[in-house]
Symmetry: C2
Subunit: 476 residues, 2 copies
């Protein structure tokens, strides 16, 4: 099967210095989408991708998204869409990635300059955006180049969608994808997103599920303005007193959500599903290392992974309007807003969850018999996503992992959300696969972000192999 | 009695424009102690007082306090100490006030320029520091001037202590007072502090009690760093979950402190004491107006005043380390610090309260069976203060109020603390009286701070009359 892969792999190895050099150039462009002053660099990064793709013969369009909402003086960076190959006899794969990055300053604690790719003797390539998400995005470009130079026919038509606002809420992208599902993306047979990570450091995974997130505010207000606790303590009902009691009624120390009826919305665990967790390459030590402590809820891997992937969780994030600085302030806050979110899983529907949350919060507040005023509301919500890992899109990726890494991949879900995943699924109606390149220790969003040279180079091979196996998969 | 008061009063009325002009000059100096860049203005204000006092023949010393703690590049403003009169046959009264002010910017919502005295047609004199505390401080200077110009013998020896850091924690003052109790202040027979307000707007009061304050931090920590709630929600024990439950165990909506044993420390209410509250000039509408709402704990004046003055209260101020901004952030905070304080009353001792607080907080945390780590500690404490209102210092002030305002003053306590009060009492061993000049609507610390012209001018008469009655009081 896929006999031409060996010469493709050889070419990738031969070009590896070029590919690292391409990553170096990309990391050197500080394309921080959250920083207004860096907007020209974000645009520059998009143009860099467009130019690299054009040089390889791809058809590229830089598609404007208009003004940035709430920042009307700023133009959103363009979505770079591209097509490589237009053969009716080949499958068409749509790949997504983003070319903007999180903010980074040397002063935050970076060991090296964040916008200079620095490779240490263990092959760790440090630099902002190396793993999130410039490495994976360049992977597809490198994949095209290696095919060209190896003289190997490209096995599919490749559609590309690279955005520049992912780290700032993907502003404008949903509408764009929805519109282009019947336009630029209309030929897509399946979607592949490379914007996540292995569960650990040694074993690749394919990701078929994400939790959703309902984010709530509980506002409690009483006095017309903040009060002095010396003067009014004891004679006024205090919103803070009420809010800690209401927030304390939501979840217990072991993560058990106390909202009546919520558990009934969760799809039951089947015996078959239970058996899947034992084989996942993950240990409690992996958890303790990433927590930086042993303050886990469970003592075993299976229940920990299930709690992360397939059960809901409720986290209290904080309180707006109360005293939050260091030191001491004798204030009675007049209005406080408690923030919490629920990670959702199949079959929890956003509206059903809202209804149970509102009912519980109002009932708990009513118990207090307070004269203060309560308002509970949903700030935002994103649905969970679960794909079928039996689809040919996943089988092809699984074979590619075995070919490149010599192991069957773990089939994983993630506890967080990647909203664009669901958008692609809903807009195109096609299967979506998450195919990670980097590993769990890459520190995306943190200081000292890195991508291992091995993950980059083997990842480029994996992307190419995936496309070859996609071409061979029977219709399903 | 005190037959010379009439000519003194007449002189005060005649000089009222001069006195308002003196206040205008003082308000024009933005002596903001919290603002490093305004430090020269604070010093300028101290020198203004010194120069006015010297012009009237007082002996004045500008006493340095050294460098400002934690801001070693800044010199603390001097304490202005002065003596007017040195007659062994007269009583000696020590008066205290402060010449620094809270920050103020027109942009905060002031209707007029905060550092320009603006008088409206109701005689309200708006300006930062007008009532807190430049008006009362200048009152003593005006009092000397009016005696001189009226040719009335000054009835006592007056010692003055005017500090420039009151709005920033009175840094350095405690040690200074303690040292000078046997030095510059050694002749003091009683102390009078004018740095508080009437309970309402129509009836003067004398204040003989203040609550103390024990301020606590509850720190709960778990993970080594903040976590993403998508990734770790459901698998890690969250410090926020624990802290809202512990904070929720401290006090209920109606202000009942839930810490076992705490109520037993409070001095019982006597029948005699109960009868005092009915006559106090205060209504529930006064409370609702100052709250800006009707969210009171009690529906009657007596229990409201007792809750403010003579019972302890517990207020939750906020949580450090959690998400506190507007909007949404899906963080699991790694370490959170809950802040609360207990207002203390006779006979609660600081250490006894600490012991009960620590025991209760630890017990409530233990109930959670959490793997997180708890640390509860006292941030700072100040004792309550109650003076004897039967002392000649209070009788003299009571007679002065009757003479100037035609009513017997309310004898009040306050819910907040004025730490320097207790310092003076402990350092000198003498009776301390709080003699307010301004009224409850003066908005000290807020925008549009004002002092009513009537309160200023009659307040100057009151200060003088108080000194005359002090001279006539028998030894007690």
């Amino acid at each position: 099967m896929a006999p031409q892969l060996d010469s493709y792999f050889k070419q990738v190895d031969g070009l590896s210095d070029n590919f690292i050099d391409r990553l170096r150039k990309a990391v050197a462009i500080p394309s921080i989408s959250a920083d207004d002053e860096r907007r020209p660099d974000v645009v520059k990064m998009g143009k860099f991708l467009a130019s690299e793709l054009r040089a390889l013969g791809a058809h590229v369009e830089e598609r404007p998204l208009g003004k940035q909402p709430h920042k009307e003086h700023l133009e959103l960076p363009p979505v770079i869409v591209a097509r490589y190959g237009n053969d009716k006899n080949k499958r068409t794969i749509l790949v997504y990635g983003h070319y903007d990055v999180q903010p980074a300053n040397k002063e935050d604690g970076w060991a090296t300059e964040p916008f200079e790719l620095s490779i240490d003797d263990k092959g760790r390539m440090f630099g902002r955006g190396s793993t999130d998400d410039k490495g994976p995005v360049l992977g597809w470009i490198n994949c095209i180049e290696a095919h060209l130079k190896a003289g190997v026919d490209f096995p599919v038509n490749l559609l590309m969608c690279f955005e520049g606002m992912e780290e700032y809420g993907s502003e404008g992208l949903d509408d764009f994808i929805t519109a282009e599902a019947k336009g630029f993306f209309k030929d897509a047979d399946a979607v592949c997103i490379s914007d996540n990570y292995w569960l650990g450091t040694e074993k690749p995974c394919l990701t078929y599920g994400l939790r959703g997130c309902n984010y709530y505010s509980i506002a409690i207000s009483g006095p017309g303005q903040d009060l002095h606790s010396g003067v009014f303590g004891g004679s006024a009902q205090e919103p803070m007193t009420d809010i800690v009691r209401v927030m304390g009624s939501l979840v217990d120390t072991d993560g058990n959500i106390q909202i009546p009826g919520l558990k009934d919305l969760v799809a039951p665990v089947t015996e078959e599903e239970k058996s899947l967790y034992g084989d996942i390459s993950y240990t409690m030590d992996n958890l303790y290392e990433s927590l930086g402590s042993k303050t886990s809820i469970f003592e075993d891997k299976e229940r920990t992974l299930m709690a992360r992937w397939r059960f809901p969780s409720l986290s209290l994030h904080g309180i707006e309007g109360a005293f939050s600085a260091a030191g001491a302030k004798t204030v009675i806050p007049a209005k406080v807003v408690g923030k919490f979110s629920i990670r959702t899983v199949p079959n929890m529907q956003i509206d059903e969850v809202n209804e149970l949350v509102y009912k519980h919060v109002k009932a708990e507040f009513a118990k207090l018999k307070s004269k203060n005023t309560l308002d509970v509301s949903l700030q935002h919500a994103g649905m969970w996503w679960v794909a079928s890992p039996k689809h040919w899109n996943f089988s092809a990726a699984g074979k590619a992992v075995e070919k490149v890494w010599g192991v069957k991949p773990d089939l994983t879900r993630e506890g967080g959300s990647i909203p664009v995943t669901l958008t692609f699924e809903q807009a195109t109606g096609k299967n979506v696969l998450l195919l990670p390149m980097g590993s769990s220790t890459d520190a995306a969003h943190s200081i000292n972000e890195k991508l291992d040279k091995r993950n980059y180079i083997e990842g480029i091979k994996l992307q190419g192999a995936y496309l070859h196996y996609v071409a061979e998969e029977p219709l399903s």
